[in-house]
Amino acid sequence: QQQVKQSPQSLIVQKGGISIINCAYENTAFDYFPWYQQFPGKGPALLIAIRPDVSEKKEGRFTISFNKSAKQFSLHIMDSQPGDSATYFCAPKDGEYGNKLVFGAGTILRVKS
């Protein structure tokens, strides 16, 4: 079964705009909620993450919003830049099973200059 549903599949945003990517999950054993960023030819890299005891975390232009009751979390990229063009993955961690990350299908973001 699909434990993590990520949307949208792709996103085109104008430079300076806000990019929003959503992730919905089912597994209540998830205990850590990161977003990974991947550029072509590279492995994913941790971008920002949140623990379930807070509802929002901001790092520079990147913000995670977390809604535990709805089992959803989202990534907001403010003032989006062409250098933000990449694939983004939500990847909540299963705290009950080997600390494994369960990846969403990914969102391809393109920021137009």
Binding site: V4, Q6, Q9, Y32, P34, Y36, G41, K42, G43, P44, A45, L46, A49, F89, A91, K93, G98, N99, K100, L101, V102, F103, G104, A105, G106
Partner: protein
């Protein structure tokens, strides 16, 4: 600079060959993982290891095996490569607390 190094960026193998993908990390991490990445499917976990000589099946272990003889090295083995194993393979390691460090990946083509 801490690293996860995958030995090959690109590999082309024939159907039926035994294929070895190597991964080495220099961060003294206990946990290591092998994922495959396919368009529209995200990353799917093949196998992981939380200690030397220990291994656990992930979500899609069929057709694969792994070896972890030393803490820093985690190998993925395709026993008899098939065309449906053509994919990008990513290795990752972590202390288990939170963040993963990924290698740059090996793009395997089976012909």
């Amino acid at each position: 600079d801490v690293k996860v190094t995958q030995s090959s960026r690109y590999l082309v193998k024939r159907t039926g060959e035994k294929v070895f993908l190597e991964c080495v990390q220099d961060m003294d991490h206990e946990n290591m993982f092998w994922y495959r990445q396919d368009p529209g499917l995200g990353l799917r976990l093949i196998y992981f290891s939380y200690d030397v000589k220990m291994k656990e099946k992930g979500d899609i272990p069929e057709g694969y095996s792994v070896s972890r003889e030393k803490k820093e090295r985690f190998s993925l083995i395709l026993e008899s490569a098939s065309t449906n194993q053509t994919s990008m393979y990513l290795c990752a390691s972590t202390t288990g607390n939170y963040g993963y460090t990924f290698g740059s990946g090996t793009r395997l083509t089976v012909v």
